[in-house]
Symmetry: C2
Subunit: 191 residues, 2 copies
Amino acid sequence: MAPRQNPRRIIGRLLDIFRCEGYDGATLTTISNGIGLGRASFYHHFPGGKSDMARAAFDRASRDFTRAVLAPLAGTAPPAERLQGMVSGLDTFYDGGRGACLIDVFSMGGARDLFHEEISEAVAYWMEAIARVLVDVGFQPEEARRRAEDAIIAIQGSLIIARATSQTETFRRVLSQIVINLMSDAPAKAA
Amino acid sequence: MAPRQNPRRIIGRLLDIFRCEGYDGATLTTISNGIGLGRASFYHHFPGGKSDMARAAFDRASRDFTRAVLAPLAGTAPPAERLQGMVSGLDTFYDGGRGACLIDVFSMGGARDLFHEEISEAVAYWMEAIARVLVDVGFQPEEARRRAEDAIIAIQGSLIIARATSQTETFRRVLSQIVINLMSDAPAKAA
DNA sequence: GTCTATAAGCAGATAGAC
DNA sequence: GTCTATCTGCTTATAGAC
């Protein structure tokens, strides 16, 4: 039984499992069964053990998030299109509301001390990226940050409700309103 | 060393620990140290072990939530006062943004199967309680539910951001806007 | 109602064969 | 690169003294 796993697939599955079970809830046995690889084999890929696995999952999520969500915001397209690009990326990144966010999952229990600083920075970075688009639309920096924060809050909150109620309508409704809410009452001098 | 603990205090501390560490992250040793009671002593108070402890913490949270948040909504005061009563209760219940919500914490890992149904019902019940107030203000039921859902999303999302960034300004800002957002553009026939 | 002592099992982690 | 076997420590849980 040694069908030589694709490292890329392993990390993807690790991310799925940590998102669903949390850091403390994901045991090596859970992970082993979920991936179809013996417990010991993980120490070849991740010499540092479980924390290394979580690190790899976190880095994968960061890269995916940058590509799907942050990159569209930084483009040169018109502001509304950039925001809509973020929304499409969010739908993909959170699997239509079925996937949890590591900002939530890795900020409690044993993962908190491992990722707290990076999570805090990720939130700040995401918020600034949205705010910059709104400044381009003509909003004052302070108002832009406030609206960006509201958007992030709505995403995170709707993911909690999606998980709590086992449905995705809420997440999809929030996504569909994000751009409208961010741009409402935009200053006349909008680009 | 047997200063006979107050059961009420034990459950309160259990709730604090589960909120912070999560179900899987809270070990009996963590709990024992956090409360100052030997591991074995818990089996006198909670014969079913850890799941019984989580159950007691969940029930305590449910009761606290009903008293602090739901009760004001059901009163006979004017709608705006009832909503403001909920906001005050939320500030207390979530300790000004420092305390996590079990809707979040107990919906992943080993606690998910234990509490999923009750958590789902709690969200629905809370939403209906807010929506009823908005219907009293003159909103159509559908619009009332949508606004209620947005309010809950904002609370949950701001708690995530509060925990992720170790600050409470966001939570307090969201709280301060809840009533305004819920009541904005209320129909003329408002009571 | 709390404690000490201990059981039984599972956690994360390692050694070494293939 | 994966496996089997094993180790150590920690986890939940129990028995029984005080």
